[in-house]
Amino acid sequence: MAFIPGRMLQKAAILKQRGVLGMNRRNIAYIGRYNPRELFPLVDDKLKTKRMAMAAGVKVPRLIGVIENQYDVRHVGAMVDKQRGFCIKPSKGAGGKGILVIVDQQQGQFVHVNGLSLTLADVQRHVSNILAGLFSLGGATDVALIEAMIDADAHLSDYSFEGVPDVRVIVFKGFPVMAMMRLSTSASKGKANLHQGAIGVGINIKTGAALRAVQFDRAIAEHPDTGANLSELTIPYWSELLTLACACYENSGLGYLGVDLVLDREHGPMLLELNARPGLSIQLANGVGLLPRLKLIEKTVKSARKGNGDERRMDREERIAFAQNHFA
């Protein structure tokens, strides 16, 4: 390990030159500046996000029910009775914590996405924990959402082991600046977090085709569990997905936004959740830094305002076209 200050400064200089966005800069220069604090509850509370999305005509996974009180916990069994697979989430959960995915029900047992079977009591305990605020930021009391399970689009199902693949798009001031697809693996135990071993696939903003794929910081060519060739991955309905992502900017008002989308076999592109503090791993998946793109957008928006006196803004199609031309 090089713990020599000179080498470290040198490394930092290279990262800076390549426009890699670091955590401190993200917090101060982007989240702090473009995401007004009062809008955070909208994205930190998945129930609010869902209601906002539905009001704006954005498709979301079907809501089976909401459990708000401890005495309702005993109704969980009845609520999910007709569902084969479903998903229980804390409404204010942070970092994907506390999400329980049940893929099937067999003789009163619930089959967890990782293959273990759970009893109804296990599921109820999980809901109790959610209500008590175990997974929420700062331990505030919470509500539990029960959603219908997403059935991954047939084009994509080969690319993921257990869990559903999702698409993360960073939307900056309404421009889609970078995208990646996250594929769960056996190493990540069905979860989509890169640091837990999920695969991150950088996506070409113009075409929706894979640029490169990484797992544990190393480039890989095939999915280690399914053997699918990752370079052939192309996301269907790509322009719809981009439109959906950019619509979230207008509806949420957040300037620096992470939009998580899924493609359902039956319902097409759907909004999974919004993130006001999107992570930085997307740079690793794409092999490029975010900063040059973010700076280009900042410059463009500023000059557009100056040029036309009457604050004319680019509309959604123009912004997407701009991004597709510049970030291909």
């Binding site: 670091g22 401190n24 500046r33 924990n129 092999g287 490029v288």
Partner: protein, 503 residues
């Protein structure tokens, strides 16, 4: 974008304010920047509390003087409205307060600074007390004389007699219990030694330990042989080493005489200061311009001992901020490591580490059982809190039984915070596996250790306690770090793949 200039002006103002205040203290009170050559001073504060009833009040408190191992430097009192005089007579040194009329709860402070000096010779050494021939009723007299007789047979001089007599009291426990019905053991010892023509008296001593509050006095036995004397602990007969015990009252007079009040109580706070020679010799200006003398030293000792710890917290906080913003370490609970580090300072490092690992380890075991019971979260955390308290209690009792009084200090651990840590770690264990628990727990412990290392540093302690202005500079540093947009040290590793590509 908003201008950053006001922000930097505020930073500059804070730094200048802090630096000026530190410089002023340095110049005016000659407090050196580095600990340097120093002498130990024990500052002891006696706090007299009582309830007055509207009558004239007279309070007389025994106070110490220069004695073997200690030189009395200066003393002062805080007693608004009271007249004060220091007396020196056959009763020893006494501080006497008086007031014509007082109502309600009264609090008087007396504070003395004693310099540790092994060659000190008392100005007036207390004379050996005169022999008094006590008379006791039967059956106590016979029982006591029997003890004395046995001790005399096995002793050669005054000191060995005292030692043997105390041994007798310990081995003949039935006799000792019988005698205890009449008067205290130390009183009996004095009487019996007098009977054997050895002059002795009871004295009141204070055990010196840094940062103690509400310490009681302990009764010791002062036994003379000619002009020499030894001090014996009446319970175990050990002659205690000088230098760790301060003689407070040694003229066979009462600690406190109170006329005109009820419910009196005397308690002692102790603080150790390492003071440079220069300053010690100079007459210290005390409590004159309290506004300019912006220091903790103008507070009563009891509060000073508290601040000695509190003022270190910002330093620990700064360490956490540095490690999180510049290095990027993750900890479970943002400032939990600072609290753990504070606990380490009280307990000593090895014991602290042992205690931490023990509490968290046993807590996790109990928590893993609780998780099977399907309990509500609040109840479960409460159960963990109670278990943590029980673990701490058991640990204290066990270590005390084994003879490690250090073990008692484990109560300094922040129990509620530890319980939450256990709960979070347990969830982490269930969700992400034991490895992640080790990573995060180890990270917190590492940060706590670094914070401890910094906070326990001699120089850091010296400078935080003596220069309140430092706090402004710490504030400015924290604010400055809050606007750092560069990479974190661990990000250089995280983004390593982006370093290698493209060339």
């Amino acid at each position: 974008m908003k201008s950053r200039i006001p922000f930097y002006l505020i930073l500059l103002a804070l730094i200048i304010l802090g630096a000026l205040s530190m410089w002023y203290r340095h110049i005016t009170f000659q407090i050196p920047w580095v600990p340097g050559e120093k002498r130990q001073i024990w500052s002891v504060e006696a706090k007299v509390e009582f309830a007055a009833e509207g009558l004239p009040v007279k309070v007389s408190l025994a106070i110490p003087d220069t004695q073997p191992s200690f030189i009395r430097l200066n003393e002062h009192t805080a007693s608004p409205g009271y007249g004060l005089s220091y007396l020196e007579n056959a009763q020893g040194r006494r501080a006497e307060w008086s007031i014509r009329e007082a109502y309600g709860k009264q609090t008087l402070y007396y504070r003395v600074d004693m310099l540790v000096d092994n060659g000190s010779v008392p100005v007036v050494s207390p004379p050996a007390p005169e022999l008094a021939v006590p008379s006791h009723t039967e059956p106590y007299a016979t029982a006591a004389y029997e003890l004395l007789e046995r001790a005399q047979q096995r002793s050669a001089d005054a000191f060995s007699l005292a030692r043997e007599l105390i041994k007798e009291f310990n081995s003949q426990s039935q006799t000792a219990q019988l005698l205890a019905q009449v008067q205290t053991r130390s009183r009996w010892l004095v009487d019996l030694l007098n009977l054997a023509d050895v002059s002795a008296r009871e004295v009141q001593m204070l055990a010196l330990e840094d940062g103690r509050r509400r310490q009681p006095l302990r009764t010791f036995l002062q036994v003379y042989q000619g002009k020499e004397y030894y001090l014996f602990n009446p319970e175990n007969g050990i002659d205690e080493p000088l230098g760790q015990q301060l003689l407070w009252e040694y003229y066979s007079s009462p600690l406190l005489d109170l006329v005109g009040g009820t419910g009196s109580k005397v308690s002692f706070s102790i603080i150790k200061q390492d003071v440079p020679l220069r300053r010690m010799l100079a007459d210290r200006p005390l409590q004159q311009d309290a506004l300019l003398d912006f220091s903790i030293h103008s507070l009563p000792l009891e509060e000073q001992t508290m601040f000695k710890g509190i003022l270190l917290i910002p330093v620990g906080v700064l360490v956490v901020v540095l490690l999180r913003i510049l290095v990027g370490l993750k900890t479970s609970g943002t400032f939990m490591p600072v609290l753990i580090a504070m606990a380490f300072m009280q307990t000593s490092l090895v014991l602290g580490l042992l205690g931490f690992v023990l509490i968290v380890g046993v807590g996790l075991l109990i928590r893993s059982y609780l998780s099977r019971l399907n309990l509500l979260l609040v109840a479960r955390i409460s159960a963990v809190i109670i278990s943590v308290i029980v673990i701490i209690a058991v640990f204290s009792v066990l270590s005390f039984q084994v003879g490690l009084s250090e073990g008692l200090k484990i109560t300094f651990f922040p129990m509620i915070i530890l319980s939450w840590t256990i709960e979070r770690m347990s969830i982490l264990w269930e969700e992400e596996g034991a490895k992640e628990v080790l990573v995060q727990g180890g990270g917190s412990l590492l940060v706590a250790l670094i914070a401890y290392g910094v906070m326990n540093n001699e120089w850091v302690r010296h400078i935080t306690f003596n220069f309140l202005g430092l706090q402004f500079i710490l504030m400015a540093l924290v604010l400055l770090l809050g606007s750092y947009t560069g990479y974190r040290l661990l990000e250089l590793r995280r983004f390593r793949p982006l370093l290698e590509r493209q060339d």
